[in-house]
Symmetry: C2
Subunit: 338 residues, 2 copies
């Protein structure tokens, strides 16, 4: 079984995206948001069958841990109430995808977060989504959209979320959204910077001393971290922290959203195989075909298949680690005899 | 000949650093800054001989392209006048190091930059320093210190500096300074993020269409870029830019400040050898010994030595590329018969 741990509903029906626009327009003009539109099951089926499901089949993966489009979370738009309605709409749409394709998708939720506001609404939405069968959440370390106005992930500001995550036994993928500054291109700078930043925040703190059962997935292959693994080992030493293996790597996981073979080779050379989850971010940030290979840049399964891994390790990367990090996914699969 | 392209005077005499503190104190209380202290040649000699020169000799390199301590540039402190005095003091100290050790060090200057202010003072200081024999400059893409309030490097705001650089035939290393936000650890997040951000800004624009002779060095092995080289190739394609080889890589160079062998291996696997300059950032960000090798993390010469490079390519990385990117360094060496 091959589980893609990182997929977003980037192909949601047009009516969903148009409602978001009208919701934000209504906010800006002080009006009530319009009613959420009717979207038929067929419309949802079509957006999935022509995109994620087609590519999953073509590439030979079995299922995707599926969440709303990351760049469209846009926590910096509107206010917390607007973000709460938007998160509910996005998560309800994910739940419908999962209902329509229960063997192929399982849900991860978007949270209502607004920079400076407490996390109560986010905690409540997480509980609601787990009640619908979701198995994890996307946590935005910078809901300001590139202004970085929130405290580091090790700050007690975030603890109510971590407490709920531990209680529900769900992990978070640390994932920013759109950038509202021209300085940071979203998928080319802001995403990767956020991954690097999150890891360094965790390195400086002792979050897993307080939450030994907490699990965080840092996507996009861990940002710059594996490439600079010596720098991070050295900084841990300079900051008098324990070695990374014990300080962070019981609780932090990277995915394989690295879009060329040398990057995947490096990832597996420096990061323990127990900490790597297969992922593609498909259909996502980079949609073209690599002229040097003739295959899609984000067909990360090809890169993983090309590694000289034992069967045991390959199973870990393709399914075992995801089932361990997302226990509710594991329970769901077991209930199906998988 | 082995040229370390990336060294900072991180071991400057205490009196120099204390003056900076008193200068900032004076600014905050509305007083005039005290006179710059007397620092003897022997004091400078001692700080160099016990540190950079000792390590250069131990590691087997010949000279360093030397600039003021990057984290102490702190362009966000004080105002432009304060920053101008500080840049002059730092650059004058570098000039004295070069005068005392002319065969071992050559200068790169710090600029007076203040977020939102024009670059006239920076251009003037660059001209002054080149007049003293400096061969390049450090350009801070975020003089706000982590707030990222300046426009992208492709914005016309920066053009007066690029025009002067082309006129003087000097390259810039794109190098941020301290972070004034707890979100970004300076050497573990802000530096690496800035490298990644700068590259993506250049990818989005067409700066080298306007300045075909401009040369920019992105330090720390190019941030996250080589690890995510497929992502950047794919984004160039999505943004309808030319391939990176022609769009950027005639003008952009990376150094070898990557502190473990797998990272250096990847750098050389994906980046053309003509674009890689040997550098260590010594004495710098990571000062300890790697327990897995028994050698200093930042002894990057070991990693480069371990590569299977031809003599021609090794010479490029160790000196030829630096002499090409910094023509005034080349002229200085030629004048010495080197």
């Amino acid at each position: 079984m091959i589980i893609d741990s990182h997929g977003h509903y980037t192909t949601a029906p047009t009516a969903h995206n148009e409602w978001r626009e009208s919701q934000l327009d209504a906010f800006l003009t002080g009006q009530a948001a319009p009613a959420y539109p009717t979207i038929t099951d067929d419309e949802i089926r079509e957006t999935i069958e022509q995109n994620q499901l087609r590519l999953l089949t073509e590439r030979g993966a079995d299922m995707t841990i599926f969440s709303p489009r990351a760049s469209a979370m846009a926590h910096h738009e509107g206010d917390l109430a607007v973000g709460s309605s938007w998160a509910r709409a996005c998560n309800d749409l994910i739940a419908r995808v999962v209902d329509l394709f229960p063997d192929t998708f399982i849900g991860v939720c978007q949270l209502p977060q607004f920079a400076g506001d407490p996390l109560d609404a986010a905690v409540a939405e997480l509980e609601r989504c787990v009640g619908m069968g979701f198995v994890g959440l996307n946590l935005n370390p910078d809901p300001s959209g590139g202004r970085w106005s929130s405290p580091p992930l090790t700050d007690r500001y975030w603890y109510p979320m971590y407490e709920k995550m531990v209680e529900l036994d769900v992990p978070a993928m640390v994932h920013v959204s759109a950038s509202c500054t021209p300085v940071f291109h979203a998928t080319g700078a802001h995403y990767i910077n956020a991954d690097t930043t999150a890891f360094m925040q965790l390195l400086q703190g002792d979050l897993f001393g307080d939450f030994p059962a907490l699990r965080l997935v840092i996507p996009h292959g861990g940002g710059a971290v594996p490439y600079h693994w010596g720098r991070y080992r050295g900084l841990a030493d300079m900051l008098k922290k324990p070695p990374l293996a014990t300080h962070l790597m019981q609780n932090v996981f990277f995915d394989t959203c690295v879009y060329h073979q040398p990057g995947i080779d490096l990832l597996f050379e420096v990061i323990d195989v127990d900490n790597i989850l297969f992922g593609s971010e498909m259909v996502g940030a980079v949609r073209g075909i690599d002229p040097t290979t003739g295959y899609y840049f984000d067909d990360t399964k090809r890169y993983v298949d090309a590694l000289d891994l034992s069967d045991v390790d390959r199973t870990k990367v393709y399914s075992g680690n995801a089932r361990r990090v997302y226990p509710r996914l594991d329970a769901s699969l077991r209930a199906k005899g998988l």
